[in-house]
Symmetry: C2
Subunit: 670 residues, 2 copies
């Protein structure tokens, strides 16, 4: 073969080239940025992989999905099937957390092609004697590719096709056993392999299903006025677990700077004795690898982590790559900061917010390699102390390249780590952080209140490419954000927002006591910051204060734990609810979620109007389950305990927000 020709041929495709590989495999999904980034799944989960697969002419194709642990020598294969318009689909099932690879293999199935032709000719009563001889030759090929035992059986079929008895031969040709035997010995001599090996990150289960609760440990002292400790927080763990939370997120636990320390309500100067913001990290006691002395020792912390685990709770640490002016790095690594002509560093900002007590790190530092290593080592340090889940502060103000490298290399050794990006920023940046490795992302849910806005946002999250790599985490509040919607203090509104967060997204969280106690006063009109924010002072929480919604939260977290449908975000279908015939209701919003095998189906109906009972006709999408419009079925409201028989797709629902602003129906299709 001509060398120039060979080179030229080889240029066209990267794999070992054989021009007889006629099958085309393209437009594979998921394939993020041409395969640069891995798709995501969770332990024991699955991924639906799709591709356009076709061949010149009218031949029949067989296609297989191939998966393996990254670096493993053998692929495992599973079947793909056509879904129309030359699109094929298959399901990857994955095991333990780690990195996986997948690709697709497909070939012209000459035996199946031949069989289809035979069936057509037989039905048209045409002469098939030549076809039977061709079939016998194809079976001979199968014999050569089979084990001895299979070969014996195949030979009998080849003989039958050569018998000369049309009826018997055709019957043998169409025998399903023959089809099975031939499928076991496919002719893959011209099989095409998709040109890319794609990657998949499988994470621990809490990456996909988690209920977060955020507390400031310093506010949880056993007696008023004192600085709380980890030991004291330990005593609250059964209560938090009892409410159904399984991730306990702590704001930074490190020494707090004295220089430019903030006072109550973000005052620029702290009064003596004020504790400051825990995000102003570092003083002479240490930086990101030290524990704030008043909280306890490092040992106290690791014991707290262990105690939490025994309550089924993972402790999540806040990692905030920024420094108080007192942080040891400022002196030890001055090149990590951008100094101005007056010998100062401009304080950090996340417009419009200003952090006068915090210095940002300069990711254009000439010493960026050592900076990256040190930042990564902070995660490794806390991983050694037993922490697996990290909530990262403002990752969108740090170099994207750093996250991509750091998360990938940490996960290589610690595949069970989970990273939540606190990136309340523009959509493209948020998505990039998720692609770069973040397991979960804070989202715009916090500001999506109307039926239209919520539906549009869920549509974007669950039907665009985002579904493959960005797992939203829905928070109705944070210590920084008391959204306008909650500032009325209406208890029902707090329940509505919690039900939405907990049933729309499998990952959700709340800034603890402030939420369940319906704290609602902003620092000023038009602001989203809390009045007397816990960021700047030690609070006392009366957890049993009347009007709290702890019972509702506990109930809804229980429902999440019991229903697989609510443990995933992407499979969601909004339903039509009509206020009057032909007119969609603006406040009653309903959605169906279902487990992968359809064994668990949850229909949530929320009344977004906190003060009026609303009723309407709801259309349940029976067609999603292959059932007729008239199919009768049962629904049980897991909140009220009431059960109903529904007859066909249209049913009347009513939600009285004074009793409970939602129904969470478990649907039994029977």
């Amino acid at each position: 073969m001509n060398n120039a020709f060979r080179r030229s041929v080889l240029q066209t495709v990267k794999q070992e080239f054989d021009g007889r590989q006629r099958v085309v495999i393209e437009n594979v999904s998921p394939e993020l940025d041409g395969g640069k980034y891995p798709a995501k799944s969770v332990e024991g989960g699955f991924v639906v992989v799709e591709a356009d697969i076709f061949v010149d002419g009218a031949d029949t194709i067989t296609a297989k999905l191939c998966v393996r642990h990254t670096g493993a020598s053998r692929w495992q294969h599973s079947a793909m099937a056509t879904t129309g318009n030359d699109r094929w689909s298959g399901t990857l099932c994955v095991g333990s957390p780690g990195s996986y690879e997948y690709t697709i293999e497909a070939w012209v199935d000459h035996f199946e092609t031949w069989k289809k032709g035979l069936i057509k000719k037989t039905e048209a009563n045409q002469d098939v004697s030549l076809d039977l001889l061709i079939g016998a030759l194809l079976i001979d090929g199968g014999v050569a590719r089979s084990t001895a035992a299979t070969a014996v059986k195949l030979k009998l079929f080849a003989d039958a096709l050569r018998s000369g008895e049309r009826e018997e031969s055709v019957e043998a040709a169409l025998d399903s056993e023959l089809a099975d035997l031939m499928a076991q010995a496919p002719d893959k001599s011209c099989a095409a392999l998709y040109e890319k090996v794609l990657s998949l990150t499988v994470e621990q289960k809490k990456a996909g299903f988690s209920s977060w609760y955020e507390i400031f440990p310093r506010s949880w002292a056993s007696e008023p006025g004192r600085h709380g400790t980890f030991k004291e927080c330990s005593r609250m763990l059964p209560m938090i677990a009892g409410m159904g939370f399984d991730v306990l997120y702590l704001p930074p636990i490190h020494p707090i700077g004295y220089a430019k320390r903030k006072g109550k309500n973000n005052a620029l100067v702290a009064a003596p004795g004020e504790p400051g913001s825990c995000w102003a990290i570092g003083n002479s006691d240490g930086g990101h690898k030290a524990v704030h002395q008043e909280l306890g020792t490092l040992k106290d912390f690791t014991e707290f982590v262990t105690e939490a685990e025994s309550n089924g709770i993972s402790v999540a640490l806040d990692i905030a790559f920024q420094c108080s002016p007192d942080h040891p790095w400022v002196k030890e690594h001055p090149t990590w900061f951008r100094w101005r002509p007056d010998g100062t560093v401009q304080f950090a900002e996340n417009p419009p917010k200003k952090y006068e007590d915090i210095l940002p790190i300069d990711f254009e530092s000439s010493d960026w390699q050592n900076l990256w290593i040190e930042l990564k080592s902070i995660f490794l340090f806390w991983i050694e102390q037993g922490v697996k889940i990290f909530r990262v502060d403002n990752p969108h103000t740090k170099a994207f390249g750093f996250w991509e490298w750091a998360i990938a290399s940490i996960k290589e050794e610690h595949p069970d780590t989970v990273f939540l990006a606190e990136a309340f920023t523009r959509p493209k940046l948020m998505a990039r952080l998720a692609k770069a490795g973040y397991s979960q992302s804070y989202s715009y849910f916090t500001w999506r209140n109307t039926k239209h806005d919520l539906q549009a946002y869920l549509h974007e999250l669950t039907t665009s490419e985002l579904r493959h790599f960005m797992r939203p985490n829905f928070w109705p509040n944070t210590p920084d954000i008391l959204p306008d919607e909650l500032q009325s203090g209406n208890r029902t509104t707090f329940t509505i927002r919690m039900v939405l967060a907990a049933t729309l997204s499998s990952n959700y969280g709340m800034y603890g006591p402030a939420y369940e106690l319906c704290e609602h006063l902003p620092v000023a009109a038009g602001k989203e910051d809390y009045l007397d924010s816990e960021k700047y002072e030690i609070k006392q929480w009366d957890l049993d204060r009347p009007g709290n919604i702890r019972a509702e939260i506990t109930r809804i977290n229980r429902i999440r734990k019991d229903n697989a449908a609510l443990q995933q975000t992407n499979e969601i279908s909004f339903v039509r609810i009509e206020a009057s015939e032909g007119h969609e209701d603006d406040y009653l919003m309903g959605y169906v979620k279902r487990s992968a095998d359809n064994s668990n189906i949850i229909l949530t109906v929320v009344n977004l109007d906190h003060s009026n009972t609303r009723g309407g006709w709801l259309r349940f999408p029976l067609e999603l389950f292959g059932l007729s419009h008239q199919h009768p079925f049962k629904v049980e409201d897991l909140l009220s305990g009431m059960s109903y028989d529904w007859n066909g797709e249209w049913n009347y629902v009513e939600v009285n927000p004074w009793v409970m602003p939602a129904h969470i129906f478990r649907v039994t299709l029977g």
Copy 2:
């Protein structure tokens, strides 16, 4: 620097890695299959390139588009600008046909970032003395990167910023000359380069704008009953050029087989003397590189090609990779065919069509390398005879890999070749052929008749990714396809379909005399084949037959030649035409096309109802041109010669199909 760290860092990105390159460039368009396939443009054309470009934090970015001839050492740069939501856009202008490369470069523009901050602080009346010192330092950096002449000017600005006079300093800082000088000496030390170099195929102008006319030369004898010759066809060239066509497409001109030769109306057996189908290629006189003796010699053919060129017409040859059983290859290269146990080869099919006189080539031949070389050499042979345009028969029944290799390697040496894929097949296959290198594609236009179907099809072609690589060629008929719509024989319908083809798509064609003479009888009811098809017999065409639409065709081709707006396909906007207030008319269809610089604007209004005059209110989209709804403008109907003053966006139009079923308005916005 730690080696393991370096390796780990290098794994993350492919280019020379510098962690300080903070800018992210992703989601580039066009980027076909992750950069595997080139986008397309034409000589002197342009390509709009878009990308998501952003950086951590709030810094300002500068981004440039880089383009070069493939293999050239230097990039040419042009500006990109933001279009919102972190999307950036720039325009690549390309020259002569050939292969180009493009990519994107972007960096944090510290000077612009600083300037924005300065403006904000100045407006808020804050102290800017420190900012001015920082600005002076940034200008010092510019001095170091500048030529001596520029440096002198920059130094003056740096001095001004250090003057200590707030007003003067700020004025100097905001001087546009300073901005220009700094833009000429950007700090690209941390510039990010997009990780892929993408490719662009630039083709000759007729790839993007062409009017095809198809004839069977054998029917163009100067006296009835004889087999026509190239010499005789030459005499018709001025007439064809006069009608405005610039590509003359000839079905295969090779020796026709005798074995299984087809007779009149696709009869399975030819009567003595019948000429057979010219797609049954090859007999003892030769195969794909020979000329059918009755047409003339190879020299006659090359003279015909030259004569056509002197009339502004490119001769396009039909390349059909298939053989009559008499083709020399059958004996010389038996391994190129798939033989059955009875010593025969199954004849070709393109379901539901059967070609009993044709043997298909086996692309799974063990001798595929030699087969590929021989097939490619056929193109090269005809290129040597002066042919540059090829219409390829049924490419979707040949291996896709072959086309990808053959077209790319032919275009490397002959960048001015054009390939039209006759792939009336499923959408994914059609698109793949275009990606694999075909310049133009036969399309589904032939069967799209209603306003809804036409609009939906144009929407798909011009707004999906197809716009970057698939150029449709609209044919209202072919020798194989007399669509149902034309079988009424209504002369107006023939005009309507021609106007649609010629104004919707910049590339269009017709199967010549049969179309202009409004031939309309099918071989049988429910069939699309012509009665007494020219495929199987020598025809006599009375070109002046009453009722022909030659004058209309000539006029419309003239309008296409005169109006750049009609010389491209993608920039099209359908307009609203209302039969009564609020109700879209089902038959009046209107669309605006415009040249790249908006200097030529054409509004076509077609009445799809061939027998009734229809009128309605048409909304011209003045907003596309940045004009108000009330803007007055002029339109001139290039078909009737009538001019109208229109006042604002809504205007009444009426189309009487008995006069002319369309208006083609040239719009002068004034």
